[in-house]
Amino acid sequence: MSADPKTVISAAKASPAGADYFAFFGLPLKLNLDIALLEREFYKLSRKLHPDLYARAGKQEQDWSMEQTSLLNDAYRTLKDPIRRTEYLLHLGGVELEEQSKTATEEARASGAIKKQVVPPELLEEVFELNMQLEELRMNKKMGEDDPALVKELESQRVSLENKHEALLDELKTYWTDWDKLVDGGSEEDRGRVRDQMVGLLNRRNYIRNLVRDVNEVLGD
């Protein structure tokens, strides 16, 4: 029997957009966070909302539990990680990081091209140099030539980039403190300034992460 493999599933209503993860946990829109407290809240809310506790309940309750728990899990996952937390807060403020810009993503998808990223100005020279070296090593590999000196150079560049990547996280945390001070009392202008600093930092950090990825690819790790 060859049954028609297509099955029709009717869609459920999509959940309301813009659920605020901070509010879900009863937290203010501040970037410094007591992780231990967050975890305790997460466990407490899980014990109230999880689908396992509604296994014998009616369909409506089960659907509600599923919605709420997936929201809880998404919120916890986002707030637990320092970078995601920052990105989320910026997103709530209507700011999008360069890499995540939907418009740019859609344009790239439509044209089939890879999204272009803006090079952070202070890295211009370094990036130029690095890309030259990567291209050279790529060519060597194609020719089947070995260049241990170049490989070593690139490996040390990678370490330097990874250290920069780490250091940026520490820098970000100083902006957090600035931001948190301004949440309760501060001008929109001041907040805008700190926001821009964080956006710039994250863009730089992402760019460096992508560079490291490129180096890894060429070094064949």
């Binding site: 466990y43 899980s46 689908p51 296994a55 899990n73």
Partner: protein, 633 residues
């Protein structure tokens, strides 16, 4: 409340079990034969009846073309994957399989899909539970490897449905094991579960905290297990026989099955002995004999067990932990009995692994604990809650054949992601989405999950519609998709084409078929019982002939009894239950006088001081008829 009974099932590659929580702790429910493990083997006997477990196990060697083992390896898989398996396993594909069809395998002259085969095993377990409860068992928690993808999970759920079970939850095997282990320990800490079974490998890292079992990371290989070790040894034996004994046995089903049996025995022996013998009788009467030392065995299996190292390291990395931050390592699965495996685990995690739990039963016991939690919990489980994760990233194929990951691996489930789509062309009313699972960049390197066709989009200018699509991975690790066009507020109809699975319709069809089979199975059981009864009566009649009472009968009576006995023996060969029943009743009536005489003798003997047992007439004076329904040894 009998209607609330939820059983826990471990549907394993090699063995399956069913368990239930009784009071403080879970217990495994044994089969009719008193054994806890039901081999995951299904066979079709000469009469076309389905055999499961130990009864089917014998068929593996005797009639291998009518038996199948390790069906779990084919669950949720497609034709291309099967080609790989076929090189290592004697799966026979149905001859009339068409491209794009769900695979079916051949058992004798019938064909079945993998979920149907698994359903036979599940039904056996269901029956065992019902016998245990003396009541119905219709709800279950079934375990799956943590690394099972969406299609493999869906196939397992389908198997449950076909077997007449409502599957309330699929639980990941390492997580289930940790539940059974944690129920016992009641300690907080970080636990790593290393689960090496017959066909799959999982490693999970969990945080246990005041009854919460939170999975932090999981990894594995759904193509790695004890079967691979067996296949290696089988290949060596076949090579030896080809080389030394100039005999090609690779396509000789019964020989390969016999070799497999010998290999498994040797493998098990080598867990405690320094050497074991592989011995197989060849068709021409010669014997293949080879000794394997533990050292040789260890060398042979090293590349296979080394494949577990990568997933373990990745799991640790994803969890952001170093081995010394792990408090306990728990071993699960029969293959962890191998000393070399234990040594590898000890080296990887830098501590001696915990081997107190029964590696064969712990997963089923954990499933029973989860079943208990779902039923509302009891005193023992009142603070327990499982927070599991999805093992594979979920992605959408975008322009350029690239995967855009929308839910990352190791995300706690239920988990969701919302994406927005629009149209490229004026008046476009459909949008197609291809969903994948996996970690690779390119769609072609990931596992295709399904194609979703969003329909009924109100026709607008290109780029105007704003379709919000919600992807939700539920607590079973299975994906659900819903969509809505936001400008019109209209819900979109979604047509799903699963890449490797049965449609709801097909599963429905199989449930009905299996009900027909249940009817058929019931009849078969009736016939088997009638035959057993016939055997009992014939045996009792033999005893009757030895007793002094026999001499009292007239030669006419003796002749008549002999005739009825012959008739009964004749009906037993056939398949008509009614005929057997009639013949049994006739013989009973025909031997009534003999029975009475034997009774008198028995009573007389009893009065002389002998017990009924010594007088050898079956059950005591309470049995009304010594030749009916006595326990046949």
């Amino acid at each position: 409340m009998s209607s609330d009974r939820i059983i826990g099932i471990d549907l394993g590659t090699t063995n399956s079990l069913v368990a239930f929580m009784q009071g403080e702790s879970p217990v495994v429910i044994p089969g009719e034969d008193g054994l806890n493990l039901v081999p995951s083997v299904v066979a079709l006997d000469e009469k076309g009846r389905i055999l499961v477990g130990n009864a089917a196990h014998r068929c593996l060697v005797q009639t291998p073309e009518r038996a199948v083992y390790s069906i779990k390896r084919l669950m949720g898989r497609g034709m291309e994957d099967v080609q790989q398996e076929l090189q290592l396993f004697p799966f026979r594909l149905a001859e009339d399989l068409e491209a794009g069809e769900v695979i079916r395998i051949q058992l004798g002259d019938k064909t079945f899909t993998p979920p149907e085969i698994s359903a036979f095993i599940l039904r056996q377990l269901k029956r065992n539970a019902e016998r245990f409860f003396n009541g119905p068992a219709t709800k279950a928690v079934i375990t799956v490897p943590a690394y099972f993808n969406d299609a493999q999970r869906q196939a397992t759920k389908d198997a449950g449905r076909i077997a007449g079970l409502e599957v309330l939850r699929l639980v990941n095997e390492p997580t289930a094991a940790s539940l059974a282990y944690g129920l016992d320990r009641k300690q907080n800490g970080i636990v790593a579960v290393y689960d090496l079974g017959g066909g799959t490998f999982d490693v999970s890292i969990l945080k246990l905290h005041d009854g919460i079992f939170e999975v932090i990371a999981t990894n594995g290989d759904t193509h790695l297990g004890g079967d691979d070790i067996d296949n290696l040894l089988i290949a060596i034996a076949i090579d030896d026989i080809r080389g030394d004994m100039k005999l090609e046995v690779s396509s000789h089903g019964e020989m390969v099955a016999a070799i497999r049996k010998a290999v498994i025995e040797a493998k098990i022996a080598l867990s405690s002995q320094s050497a074991a013998k592989l011995e197989v009788e060849l068709p021409d009467g010669r014997h293949y004999l080879r000794e394997i030392t533990q050292e040789q065995f260890n060398q042979l299996i090293q590349p296979i067990i080394d494949r577990t190292v990568g997933p373990c390291k990745q799991a640790l990395k994803d969890a952001g932990l170093k081995p010394d931050q792990i408090d306990e390592v728990v071993l699960v699965g029969g293959s962890t009995r191998i000393p070399k495996v234990r040594a590898l685990v000890e080296e990887l995690f830098q501590r001696r692994p915990h081997a107190d739990v029964n590696p064969d039963e712990v997963v089923a016991l954990g499933a029973a604990v989860q079943a208990n939690i779902l039923s509302g919990g009891s005193e023992a489980t009142e603070n327990m809650l499982l927070l599991d994760v999805t093992p594979l990233s979920l992605g959408i194929e975008v322009a350029g054949g690239v995967t855009d990951k929308i839910i990352l691996r190791n995300s706690t489930i239920p988990a969701s992601a919302t994406e927005h789509y629009t149209t490229q062309v004026d008046g476009q009313t459909n949008v197609a989405i291809h969903v994948l699972q996996g970690e690779r960049e390119l769609a072609k390197d990931c596992r295709s999950l399904a194609r979703f066709d969003l329909k009924g989009i109100p026709p607008m200018t290109a780029g105007m519609p704003r379709i919000e699509v919600k992807f939700l991975i539920d607590a079973n690790g299975i994906l659900h998709v819903s969509a809505r066009e936001q400008r019109s507020g209209k819900e979109s109809e979604i047509e799903v084409q699963p890449s490797y699975g049965l449609t709801d319709e097909q599963v429905e069809g199989m449930i009905l078929e299996s009900f027909d089979n249940a009817e058929e199975d019931f009849r078969q059981r009736q016939i088997i019982e009638a035959r057993t009864e016939a055997e009992t009566i014939v045996a009792a009649l033999e005893k009757g002939r030895q007793s002094p009472a026999w001499g009292v009968l007239t030669s006419d009576e003796k002749r008549q009894i002999a005739q009825l006995e012959d008739e009964l023996k004749a009906t037993v060969e056939g398949d008509g239950y009614d005929a057997i029943r009639k013949a049994i009743d006739a013989l009973n009536r025909g031997t009534m006088r003999l029975a009475e005489l034997m009774m008198d003798t028995a009573v007389n003997t009893a009065l002389k001081g002998k017990t009924m047992d010594q007088a050898d007439t079956g059950d005591g004076p309470t049995a009304p008829h010594p030749m009916a329904k006595a326990e046949f040894e």
